[in-house]
Amino acid sequence: MKENEKRPTQLFMRTTGGMGVTLEGSVDIESLPDDLARQVEANLTPTKLSRVARRKTALYMPGQQEYEITIPAGAQKSPKRYAFTDQQADPELLDILDELTSIIIQEKIRARRARQQQQEAMQAETEQMALEEEHAPLETPPAMPIFGQKENEEPPVVNDSTKS
């Protein structure tokens, strides 16, 4: 890595081509296992990725994958994006990309399970509330105050002349 290249802490990866399925996600480099993080820092640098992306490609290799790696470049600069195929990448880089792809998939599955658990918890809570409501004893509704009656005041005695 060149001295003036700041180490990225995150990257965005998108895989297309292959069998026709698109997979994308971001990777927090600092949260990777140490060994993989070191490999990412050493191989996924702007210098190396731009060299890979410039490599000449062959015309015919149906089903090979295309990779897009986007590296954020700070608030004032636009992010750098590098696109290349299986054929252009070195074996070492492909190994790293396979690991990162696997991590992205695991993370997505974890996030989906968390969402599902949250939805199930909410569903269970809603059902519980409905159940409680169904079985709650009927309460006598509070007496409605009569218009003009003050708080804590006895209701006025109605003078029913028919009783006398």
Binding site: M19, G20, T22, L23, T57, D95
Partner: protein, 353 residues
């Protein structure tokens, strides 16, 4: 006058192999690849200058008393990038302890049988080419592909993809080789989508041929058995219902259109080769339904013969549609039911001839 006699091996090596050698070989091999590339460029120019227009000849079909036999080689990639890996099972060898090796060995045999039985084609190149496959390629690799000279299968990550050794997928990948040896289609934009579509169509027909299903009995799915437990979907693609094969929050929704009105203009996926292939895929499905019976008997014959005659690596959907209608005319007669139904199928997906 001096004549150059280029090494025939140099002339056979496709450009991507040379690129791979330059990239991954040692210094000596890199220099050899560079020299070969220069020589190949020169030879190609000479050949192009010498060849008359329409010099392309279709793949020869089988004739003569001796029946062709399949020759297969299955390699173990050892979860590494390098190809082909270690040879595990060659033709006639007893089964390996590796189930994936045996499965690929058996299924590539079924694809060979399909091309031979239905189209009298002797292997990928029509000349008995050895069918080479590598299994266990890379680690948790979610892909299978044809690299210009062999098929390559990853194991999948086990969550989204459990395997790529499904008969329709093997039929698909091997059919990319058939396209290559039938004149070829550039793997980009509409010609690339036609390449993908041809592979899908012949992939599903391989399954139908192996299980003797009629067009109406078949499910028309590609990759029915490849999704892992975490994916919501029945297959990778559907020729019957493009766009409805899967809908999953991780993989997204099947993006295939079934009509030109829904054509997707994109720069990714080599110009949407796996996306817009839904249009010619559906045209084939419709035609096979109209013609009835086994898809390979009429619809497949029209598609196969059209590919042998196309001679246009940059063909658009309209070029291909035109060629299929012309082929139906040649095979079944002008104004025949087959020709009319081929044209009708194209019209229903928005291609008017």
């Amino acid at each position: 006058m001096m004549h150059e006699h280029p090494n025939p091996i140099h002339c056979i090596l496709p450009p991507h192999i040379l690129d791979s050698i330059k990239m991954r070989g040692d210094e000596k091999m890199k220099k050899m690849a560079e020299r070969t590339e220069k020589l190949a460029d020169k030879t190609r120019s000479q050949r192009e200058a010498a060849a008359p227009e329409k010099a392309f000849l279709g793949t020869p079909t089988i004739s003569g008393p001796t029946a062709p036999v399949v020759t297969r080689e299955v390699y173990n990639g050892g979860r590494r990038v390098g190809l082909p890996g270690k040879l595990v099972r060659a033709e006639g060898d007893p089964p390996s302890r590796d189930k994936t090796v045996n499965k690929v060995y058996d299924l590539t045999g079924k694809v060979f049988d399909f091309y031979l039985g239905a189209f009298k084609r002797n292997s990928i190149d029509g000349q008995g080419m050895t069918i080479i496959s590598t299994v266990h390629h890379r680690r948790k690799f979610n892909n299978a592909f044809w690299n210009g000279s062999q098929m390559v299968f990853g194991d999948g990550d086990g969550m989204l993809f459990k395997s790529f050794t499904d008969l329709s997928v093997i039929g698909h990948e091997l059919s990319h080789g058939v396209v290559q040896y039938s004149g070829g289609l550039m793997y980009k934009d509409q010609s690339g989508a036609l390449n993908e579509s041809f592979a899908d169509v012949f992939g599903v027909m391989t399954v139908q041929y192996a299980s003797k299903q009629t067009a109406s009995e078949a499910n028309w799915l590609v990759g029915e058995d490849i999704f892992g437990p975490e994916v919501e979907g029945e297959a990778l693609r559907s020729l019957k219902a493009p766009g409805l094969a899967y809908s999953d929050d991780i993989l997204g929704k099947d993006p295939q259109p079934f009509h030109m009105d829904l054509y997707v203009n994109t720069s990714s996926d080599y110009g949407g080769v796996h996306i817009n292939s839904g249009i010619p895929n559906h045209a084939f499905y419709l035609m096979a339904q109209y013609l009835g019976g086994y898809s390979w008997e009429k619809a497949g014959q029209i598609w196969y013969q059209a590919m042998q005659k196309l001679n246009n690596p940059m063909a658009t959907f309209a070029d291909w549609a035109d060629m299929t209608v012309q082929t139906a005319w040649d095979m079944f007669g002008q104004g025949s039911f087959e020709m009319m139904m081929t044209r009708r199928a194209w019209r229903l997906v928005g291609i008017h001839l």
